[in-house]
Symmetry: C2
Amino acid sequence: MSALREKILTVATDLFQTRGINSTGVDTIVAVAGTTKMTLYKYFKSKEILILEVLQQGHQEFQSWLNAKLDQSSKKPAEKLQKLFDFVEEWVTSPDFRGMAFMKASAEFPNEENIIHKLSAEHAKEFRSYIADIASQAGVIEAEALALQLSMLIEGAIQAEQMKRGSGAIKYAKKAAKVLIDAAPKKPQ
Amino acid sequence: MSALREKILTVATDLFQTRGINSTGVDTIVAVAGTTKMTLYKYFKSKEILILEVLQQGHQEFQSWLNAKLDQSSKKPAEKLQKLFDFVEEWVTSPDFRGMAFMKASAEFPNEENIIHKLSAEHAKEFRSYIADIASQAGVIEAEALALQLSMLIEGAIQAEQMKRGSGAIKYAKKAAKVLIDAAPKKPQ
DNA sequence: GAAAAAAGACAGAATAGTCGATATAGCAAC
DNA sequence: GTTGCTATATCGACTATTCTGTCTTTTTTC
């Protein structure tokens, strides 16, 4: 894979997050990436395709990072749900946190028929499914319901953090999560 | 107040929500509103001013609506927190629900120095304060903390609903809220 | 007749995307 | 080692549309 292609993806990811997707022109992207439009359009057929690839790569990297963190932290499924919020906190409070890509993308492309919106919705769904899997392994009976609730807390906390960096919202989300996890009926082991 | 001015505000509100703010040009707004740019710029000095007014009006209308609903529903503060989620559900599931304006606006204008972002953050804060007041009246000791948690649930549910209409996320947010409200320490009465 | 609004042209910048010409590599043949 | 081929990248101009915002003139409305 080309180094320039990677550079364009990296720069686009950063600019989309810090300035917004619609507010970032391809001219700006190529200028910051130190290349030209010809090169950008060689690797990406359109800006829309570039946006989709940026979203896809960001989502995969985040999910991989989270999954790796959870895997190496604890072998007990019951602890994973709590740990999840620790890692989300680590992510959210890191200096280069810029928000959840699919949340912003769905706001910039509100039409449900839009392909970017659809991909965002898919990523949100995958994130919930991922949490549901962990909840299921932890013996939670209504794993899907709890996963939805926990994802709402996480996305709400990220929304708060996007509004104001250093809000500390995730700490309270974590506490709320503990209450919900403890209250959720589980299979006897 | 001019009827045309109102019409422009109404149309802009709708278009911003359904197509996105940056994706909606003033030409589109005046065309749909059945007026001209001259008139728009007579009432609003710039598109930015229009956006700010749209946000301000939407926020005030929502808060007034919610406050009226809560006032006429129950006189007991303890019940208001639960009722809050009923009314949010009523709002979210209504056919003309288009999302929470300040959530979308902050996504389109991610820079914290941006005036539109600042106003969005202010609205988010006011919404939390409003919930905190109710929680405080209900005797919740850590009213601010619970208000933050409940607002994260609401905003998370709205995020889910923006992703996919009819997701039903708010129902699970309501259940989670009940658990959190019940678990919150309260002053003895 | 006076004020408000419409109509439409206009400026100047930015938008996405294209095109041709040039430069620069690596690599193979001789 | 030199030459030539080829793929890749660069450069800048270019189209054509859209953007915000302004202007003048005409029409409507009271």
